[in-house]
Every structure is written in structure tokens, then in C-alpha cells.
Symmetry: C2
Subunit: 307 residues, 2 copies
């Protein structure tokens, strides 16, 4: 650049130089400030960014993400009406038997008394249970409604002792990790208390383990993914019906959610990638010496509001 | 600054000036490049940031966030054993009546046949239903297990015709928005088909609307927030038991999830900020001319896997 200026004539140059030179300190000052501001701005954004995406400890979610079966967005889709599925389906008249009001009250009272006897039981005997009963309770769970009638559930019934024991090992190992993670918490100091959480004998002794998987998506005839709206709510509702069916049949269980073992158990049971473990129910009869914690349930006025 | 230099002596000044002046063009060039680089970097980060947080259409979630009742993290906490609540609770022996195996099979079969008659019914009559039956079915839902026995549910029973109509207006308004949002989709072109989704007459005609809220957190005696682990799964399970209780009593409903209306309905029903609408169940008798879509349920072999 200097060269060109020289070619054009030194007068020109000297004028320009003079102009620049007098301004130079100002230039530098301005530029320093300018750079300072820009750098500050950049960092500012970085910080904002970082605080925004502050990582939260989500062990099982991260595992599930590795497992490639986590589709939160799908569950957030708007689909107000579960029965708003394929509206081209033909409709047929629907007739139902009607009970008298007295009968309705009697039946609803009796059903409440039956289910109110249900307790989560962690001490299950190894007495055999007729498979036909298990088949019936799962058939019953299968009558549950589901988003757009996708029926997005798989009930894996484990009766093989070796597989049950492998499941126990996976679950207890996870519990040990949780235990160590929680070491800091004051309430964990009582080891004896914790062991009751950590040791899952019922996973060996219960004649059946029912592992309930939610199908987070399905496949269309053309092989494309088919979103299963509200699959977790649907499968949880089916589990509620399953719990009612077990109680009705005189069988007991404890509702466990080994979500952080999901991927391991899914692999062990060779379930496809679109299935995610929701609940694990050990099913059987209570042991003769079974105990349950002394718990009360909220009275009606605490759970019901009438408008 | 010039001034100070002058005071220190003009020789000094001229040297400095000369130095600067000769460098000025270089300075400017460097600084231009420097600024360019920094600005580019800033934008680059902005872009990355934007693509990372690419906004997904989540109408109800966004609303809920406004509503300040969305606590996804809480639901992701690890809590493998639902019964691992306060281990200091005393344990007592648990005795249960036992049915014969034949009786278990008979009972489980009968319960399946009863629940298999359940259908989601969208054409509900305005015939009154005994309140006592509603109380009993909600009592029954309240026997459901829940994470750490938090019982995180509130059942709002709406019988007031004005409130029912307000609910209908809110729900249908949301449906209209969904409708307009979906205008592009090919399957929406059939307006007649859509209307069956959009118009919710049952919200006026059903003698009761049961709105089930999940309590995403509770309050400890010290007033601090108490996380309700798995509150959505817990409340969904309770809804499954509620559906079984309704069917047992001869009452019908359709399971709807107006999640995007949650905040409006919560405000209308004056529920606290820790409660989020999960399901809305209109409850009553089917109309004499009620119809249901022709749907089949998956056979047992499609939902059960035995290991």
C-alpha cells in the first residue's frame, strides 16, 4: 500500500500520513474499547448459554438416550381426543346392560372394599400360581384405552428362574449404584434401613415377574415410524387395570419402576428398540410371614373436589 | 493525551508519531480483520446456539411453562422402589384371604369379560347418576399405589351445568386452534370427519365431568417443596383403576387428554399451581342411540411374551 502511495506522489502520502498520525492514538483508544466491548459481549452470551443449558443429573434418561428409545417430543404432541383416531372406521350401535341404582351403589362399594385390601407386598412366596390366571389378568390389562387405539404395551412374563435371577442382579446392581450416589444424604446412613430397599429377594422368589414395556413408536405398513401419542400415560393406565385384575384374582405385587435398569433389562429380554421398560411387577402370594408398612390412605375429602 | 506528550517533550512526541504513523495502515488492516473475526465468532455461536435449541412446536408445554407447573426434572429423578418411602414406618404382619386356584381362574376370567365390555363412549346421556357411586369409584382410584406413597392426585368432579359448559367452551376453542393448525394435513380436509372430534357435546350432557390433576410437587411441614416422584405414572395408574371401577359400576366414559387446555381449566377450577391436568373423563350412561367405532383389540399373543 505504501508503495502505491509513493507512485502517486509523496505529497499525497504525507497528507494522508499526517492525518492518520494525528488520529492514531484516538484510533487505538477507540479500537481497544471496541474490542473490549465485543469480547465482553461474546463471553456474556457464552455465560447465558451455559446457565441456560445447565446440565441436570438424569442418569436413567441419559441411559435411555444411549438406548435410543427416548422420544419426549412425541409425548408432547397435541391429541386431545384419544378416540379421534381413524375417523373412517365404521360406527355401530352400542348397547349396554343397565344395573339398578341400588345395584350400582352396591357394586361400587364392594369393588372399593376389594381394592382397598390391596397393599404393595415385597415379601412374596415361591408358591406356584396358575398360568391361566396370569393370562387372564394380562388380557384384562389389554382392554385398556390408549391414545388413538395404538395399544402400545408389551407384557413380558418371566417365569424362568435363571432369567429372574439375572434380572435381580441387574436391579440390585443399579440399587447399589443409587446407594453409593446417595452416600452423602443423611438418611442413607442407616444401612439396615437401606438394605430393605437394596435387596430384592422377591425377584427370585415370585413365581412370575411381569415387565411392562411402553412402545414409544410403532411401524406403519410402509415401514415408517408411527408416533404413539401418550404411550406412557396409556401403558400406565393399563397397569392400573392390571393391578385391579391381580387384586381381584387374589394375587399380590409391588409396583416398581426400575427405569434406570431399562436398557439392561430390555437387552436381556431381547425387546426391540421402540420398547422402553415402564414398570416391573413381581407377582405371587404373600409369604406367610409377610409384613407391610403401617400406612393410611387419604380420605375422600382430601382427594375429591366437587364443583 | 496529545497534551501530556507535548509536556514530556516534542522529540518524544515526534518519535512516537513517526512510529505510529508508519504503522497506521497496518493497524487499521489488523484491527478490521480482528473485529471481523470476533464478530463472525459471535454470530457463529449464536447460530450454533439457535440450531441446538431449535424450537419444536409444543403448544401445551409452552402454556404449562407459562403456567409455572412444569417440572420435568422431578419426573426424571431415580427412585427405583416405590415402597422405599419412609423406612422408619413400622411394619405389621399382612394376612390375606386365599381363593382356590379354580376360583382364581373363574374370578380372573369374569373380570376380563366385564372389562372387555368397556368401550370409550362419546355419546353420553344426561340421565342423572347417583353421587354415591361417583364417590365410591373415586375412593377406589384412591387405593392406587404411588411413588413413595405421595398419593399425588386430585379428582375434581364437576356437576354444575354452567361450569361444565365453560369447560366445553375452553376445550372446543382449543380444538378449533388444533384444527386450524392442522389445516395443511391432508386428512383434515374432510370437515365432517373432523367435527366429530371438534364438537364435544358430552361435556354438557354427561352428568359428571371428572378432571384428574397430578400434583407435580407437594409441601413439607416446613413449607418446602416436596418432589412427587413419578407423579404422572402414579396418577395414570390411579386412572386405570378408576376406569375399572366405572366399568364395574355400569358407567361409561371416554378418556381424553386435553393437556393444552390444562392451564385454562386449572384456573377455571381454581386448582393450585402444583396441580396439572392429566385427564378429563365425562361420566354417565351411553345415549340410547350411542355408537362406537368398530375396533378390535390385540389378541393375547400380540401383547404378552413369556420367558
Amino acid at each position: 500500500m505504501e508503495r502505491n502511495l509513493n507512485l502517486e506522489g509523496s505529497l499525497h502520502v504525507s497528507v494522508v500520513m499526517a492525518l492518520f498520525s494525528s488520529l492514531t492514538p484516538v484510533f487505538i483508544a477507540i479500537i481497544c474499547v471496541l474490542i473490549g466491548v465485543i469480547l465482553k459481549k461474546t463471553n456474556g452470551e457464552k455465560e447465558k448459554h451455559e446457565t441456560k443449558n445447565k446440565p441436570v443429573s438424569r442418569p436413567w434418561v441419559d441411559e435411555d438416550l444411549k438406548d435410543g428409545t427416548d422420544h419426549p417430543v412425541e409425548e408432547e404432541e397435541v391429541d386431545e381426543e384419544w378416540q379421534g383416531l381413524d375417523e373412517n372406521v365404521a360406527h355401530v350401535p352400542f348397547f349396554v346392560e343397565r344395573y339398578s341404582e341400588a345395584e350400582m351403589i352396591k357394586r361400587s362399594q364392594a369393588f372399593y372394599e376389594l381394592l382397598n385390601k390391596r397393599r404393595s407386598v415385597r415379601f412374596l412366596s415361591d408358591e406356584p400360581v396358575p398360568r391361566e390366571v396370569i393370562d387372564n389378568v394380562i388380557r384384562t390389562a389389554g382392554t385398556s384405552p390408549s391414545g388413538a387405539h395404538t395399544e402400545p404395551w408389551t407384557f413380558v412374563v418371566v417365569q424362568d428362574p435363571d432369567v429372574k435371577h439375572k434380572i435381580r442382579e441387574i436391579v440390585e446392581e443399579e440399587e447399589e449404584i443409587n446407594y453409593k450416589k446417595r452416600m452423602g444424604d443423611k438418611w442413607v446412613n442407616d444401612l439396615k434401613r437401606l438394605r430393605t430397599n437394596w435387596i430384592k429377594e422377591y425377584l427370585d422368589t415370585a413365581p412370575y415377574l411381569i415387565l411392562i414395556f411402553k412402545q414409544v413408536y410403532g411401524r406403519l405398513p410402509n415401514g415408517k415410524k408411527k408416533t404413539h401419542y401418550y404411550n406412557e400415560i396409556s401403558v400406565s393406565i393399563a397397569c392400573g387395570i392390571l393391578l385391579a385384575a391381580l387384586q381381584n384374582a387374589g394375587l399380590y405385587t409391588v409396583t416398581t419402576t426400575p427405569l434406570n435398569c431399562g436398557p439392561h433389562l430390555r437387552a436381556l429380554l431381547r425387546r426391540p428398540a421402540n420398547e422402553k421398560l415402564l414398570l416391573l411387577l413381581p407377582v405371587g402370594y404373600p409369604k406367610r410371614d409377610a409384613t407391610v408398612p403401617v400406612l393410611t390412605r387419604k380420605p375422600l375429602e382430601d382427594i375429591m373436589v366437587v364443583v
